[in-house]
């Protein structure tokens, strides 16, 4: 430090001269960019492939007609689209309140220094990493058979709720934790109870974050096929669900069904339905981003 300060001007000029970015820096930069490219290229190839294959069949018959395994030109996926809507809405109704309430408990009420709560925390992280097929087995054994709910919309929704619950809890906790402590202190110092503080200050401030996490969790649920394979969605369904105890199928399963047909026309049909599923997913993600930007707060 002191040598620089006392050095003659020419020497300082020499020391400060820009020698260009070292080779190693540039190499590392390219390596990082290459890593990023893997994801982007994969997505681009996937989109191009699906769109070029499915576009010709992306016609109103796809959402107006019921599936058929004999007439690919007349086949549609209305029962799968309606089934997905039934299952996802029911899933949202079940898992969002439960997940948000669990998150509130962990963030606002639980004593983090207690051993029990630390174990709960670690286990929620673990649950988020459990393969979805395992939830399918759980759903089949406990919800479909032991609770005798059968192969119905409610069974699927309960199973998917269990599957995404850890994600909802974790993202809601992060949103709740992001609300500054000073807001809670301000509320409590006015004589508000803890419940009033949580319901009138913390939750409203955390809603954008919670909503974003919830939509991303539901986006995961909407694309799940594995657990539902075990839960009866695989059967050939040519009617829309009419209630929670109705049989059903969903888009990923219908795609799976068509793909496994040998005739080329069904492959195209599957690609067309993939476009719809992707569009729904992108819409949900877009809505999550919109919510995040629209309600983003600066403290």
């Amino acid at each position: 430090m002191s040598t620089v300060l006392t050095a003659p001007a020419e020497q300082v000029t020499e020391e400060l001269r820009d020698a260009g970015q070292p080779l190693r820096d540039r190499g590392f930069r390219w390596l990082l960019f290459a890593a990023l490219s893997v994801g982007i290229i994969t997505l681009a190839v996937l989109l191009v492939f699906v769109f070029s294959k499915g576009m010709p069949r992306l016609t109103p018959t796809l959402w107006q007609n019921m599936p058929s395994i004999r007439f690919p030109d007349k086949a549609g996926a209305q029962s799968a689209i309606m089934g997905t809507i039934w299952v996802i809405v029911t899933t949202a109704v079940i898992c969002l309140p439960v997940g948000v309430m669990a998150a509130i408990y962990l963030e606002e009420y639980a004593d983090a220094s207690k051993r029990f709560n630390r174990i709960v925390e670690i286990n929620i992280q673990n649950l988020a990493a459990v393969p979805s097929i395992v939830y399918g087995i759980l759903g089949l054994g406990v919800i479909a058979r032991a609770l005798m709910l059968g192969q119905t919309v409610i069974t699927a929704a309960l199973t998917l709720s269990l599957l995404v619950l850890p994600v909802v809890i974790i993202s809601s906790r992060e949103a709740i934790r992001a609300v500054p402590q000073s807001i809670r202190a301000g509320s409590l110092a006015l004589g508000a109870t803890q419940w009033q503080t949580v319901s009138r200050q913390v939750l409203p401030a955390a809603v954008p974050g919670i909503a974003t996490g919830a939509i991303l969790a539901l986006s995961r649920a909407i694309g799940e096929a594995a657990p539902l394979l075990l839960l009866g969605a695989v059967t050939f369904i040519t009617f829309n669900p009419d209630g929670l105890m109705s049989s059903y199928t969903v888009m990923p399963i219908q795609i799976y069904n068509w793909i496994s047909q040998s005739r080329e026309e069904f492959q195209i049909l599957a690609a067309a339905l993939c476009i719809i599923l992707l569009a729904v997913l992108l819409l949900m993600n877009g809505f999550a981003i919109y919510l995040r930007n629209r309600f983003q707060r600066r403290w």
Binding site: I183, A189, G191
Partner: protein, 276 residues
């Protein structure tokens, strides 16, 4: 925590207070095993401003939060001894901390308006207390008027409280505090983040509020203490034999007396800028 040798209890607690609104008797505050503040006896006089001064880390803010049980919110924090509010120990098991905080309000170091409109910031306290809707407009106007903010915000009550300047935000927080009509107002360095003009406004406001409220203020600014307070308590951090710091009350007296003729050499050293 074992008892360790410390300087003797301050003998120079002046400023005898008749009929104090609040009073600490033998109060210690712990964070876990750490005794942050040791053995405080201190009365808070009604409708006066009591200032807490002292070097950083001497436990002034910790002690302030013991007056309305805000320390309860910190895991591991514990208060022993008696903190009396009108003769009742607020740490007694049958006392509800919520009720204490309704009577002993608080203004924080950093302005912390709620992310809501100016109106809703003020109305929040009365609402959680169950005040009926038709009275809210009056309460909001009165509170903002008493906090000397009404003229600046009366046309934009629906805009966000967070859009105000720092000084306005702090007056909003004071208005929010008096909207629930507390008996005592605790202020934790309320001007620490404000410029001199905003500070002057808050100080004027405090003098006006002292007619109706009992105020305790923590400040690092000794001029502020001399300008606004009626009595001053000087704290310092004593280091015990084990090298652990404990906040202690050194001297408590009427403000002119404490600054004019301090009885304890440590007080004199601090106010004349020799240490701290």
């Amino acid at each position: 925590m074992t008892t360790t040798a410390l300087a003797p209890r301050p003998a120079t607690i002046g400023g005898r207070v008749a009929d104090p609104t609040m009073e600490m008797r033998g109060v210690d505050v712990y964070y876990g095993d750490y005794q942050a503040v040791r053995d405080i006896d201190l009365p808070i006089a009604r409708h006066e401003i009591t200032a807490f001064i002292g070097p950083s880390g001497c436990g002034k803010s910790t002690l302030l939060r013991a007056f309305n049980r805000m320390n309860d919110l910190i895991p591991g924090a514990r208060v022993t001894g008696e903190v009396l509010y009108r003769g009742v120990d607020i740490y007694a098991p049958e006392v509800d901390p919520i009720e204490v905080r309704r009577r002993v309000g608080m203004v924080f170091q950093k302005p912390n308006p709620f992310p809501k409109s100016i109106y809703d910031n003020i109305a929040y306290g009365p609402r959680v207390l169950g005040t009926s809707k038709k009275d809210l407009d009056d309460i909001v106007e009165q509170s903002l008027t008493r906090a000397a903010l009404w003229d600046e915000v009366k046309g934009k009550l629906d805009s966000s409280g967070m859009a105000l300047s720092g000084g306005q935000q702090q007056r909003l927080c004071i208005a929010r505090c008096i909207a629930v009509n507390p008996d005592v107002i605790l202020m934790d360095e309320p001007c620490a983040s404000l410029d001199p003009i905003a500070t002057a406004k808050i100080e004027d406001l405090m003098r006006e509020l002292a007619a109706e409220y009992t105020i305790v203020i923590v400040t690092h600014n000794m001029q502020q203490a001399t300008r606004v307070s009626d009595r001053t308590a000087f704290f310092t951090a004593d280091v015990d034999d084990a090298g652990v710091r404990h906040g202690r009350l050194v001297e408590f007296a009427a403000t002119p007396e404490l600054f004019g003729s301090p009885k304890d050499p440590r007080t004199e050293g601090y106010i004349s800028g020799r240490f701290g």
